[in-house]
Amino acid sequence: MNKLKLLTSAMAFSAAAGLSGGAFADPDEDQLTINGEIEIVTETAAPEHLEYVDTIYSGWRFRSDETQAVQMDDFDNPGMIFVEAAMETWDTVEGTEGKSCASCHNDVETMAGVRAVYPKYVEAAGEVRTLEHQINGCREERMGAEPYKYTSGDMVAMVGLISMVSRGLPVNVQIDGPAQSTWEKGKEIYYTRYGQLELSCANCHEDNYGNMIRADHLSQGQINGFPTYRLKNTKLNSVHARFKGCVRDTMAHTFKPGGPEFTALELYVASRGNGLSVEGPSVRN
């Protein structure tokens, strides 16, 4: 397969060209069912706003059979270690108000569907907020507790727990109305080249998904599977931490996790996956 290769910095790709073909090409044909019961949509028609992509794929489809298998059973998925810890946190009273998450939200199952619509415009805040922002909003305003650091282990574990109860539901973030200006800002960031390598998100994840970047099989950069347990660092990784890693790899100064740029980018990237299933906590390389 040969997609557009309009890269000014194509060095990285050319080295990997020899590995393309065979098992290393388009997303594979595998189907994802978790625990033999949760059907995950890993391929569907692209949302209407996407101009250059017809079909969207979960990053799961770009991974090897061995990595894929780890996500197919919750017992095998080491991301669940962190989710289990968050389950205990859910019921733990913290802060000056004597409340736990469960005090207001009852069972975590009541959060089903929440992951699927974030980031979203929050009327009370007058801005687009991520799930992380909302968790810290609860902690500070309702619980009287210290906020989590944005990409901390406690935070990503809680996001993992809230994601888990939405698995199988379609990502469906709103891009119009009060969210539109933030979404457009995110889109602009997605198509802007950053860093000494002058790479935009689109250069890799739209123009070259399915190709190899050296030894790495490039996905569409979908975030429906976040948080993601990575074999590389053996922990759950948040969306903004992953964005930061990507931007850093272009040899650019990155934006701040939790800040307005990455929040806008998260809304835009999430919207590119509208229609895929929520998959987090997923497993990637």
Binding site: S64, E66, A215, D216, K232, G245
Partner: protein, 140 residues
């Protein structure tokens, strides 16, 4: 995939240790020494012992392997390119019907994984698998 020189360069550049297939891993002697110690220098044959590992591992941190050793009392697993080649030694008890075990291991680069089984009759069997370990182009 055919291993052309060009492919090998691509693989090597992406691997922690640039020892492709055919190259002599730097620590091979140590693994050999350990196997000799495990077998007491006895001859090592082949048999029903099998070792399953991916041909290409997406990350060397977590490589799934499965060893099946029917008729064995114990099996030792080595990674001949790791700084310390020993991986695990598994003894099978009376209530083990299949002598099959799966686990996840660390490989510090492209290398051979070797399983050596000690059979009930005191003989030894060996099986191995070559695993290419890649590192992504993106540190991310």
């Amino acid at each position: 995939m055919e291993l052309t020189r060009r492919n090998m360069l691509a693989i090597s550049s992406g691997a922690l240790v640039a020892s492709g297939l055919g190259a002599i891993p730097a620590f091979a002697a140590t693994a050999e020494d350990m196997i000799a110690e495990f077998t007491g220098g006895a001859a090592v044959g082949e048999g029903e012992l099998s070792l399953t590992a991916p041909e290409i591992a997406e990350n060397g941190n977590t490589v799934p392997i499965e060893v099946s050793a029917p008729g064995a009392v114990a099996v030792a697993i080595y990674a001949d390119g790791n700084p310390t080649p020993a991986v695990a030694t598994v003894k099978f008890g009376k209530l083990n019907p299949s002598n099959t075990v799966s686990t996840r291991i660390r490989l510090a680069g492209t290398q051979n994984v070797v399983a050596v089984a000690q059979m009930e009759d005191g003989s030894f069997q060996q099986a191995s698998a070559a695993v290419k370990v890649t590192i992504g182009g993106c540190g991310g």
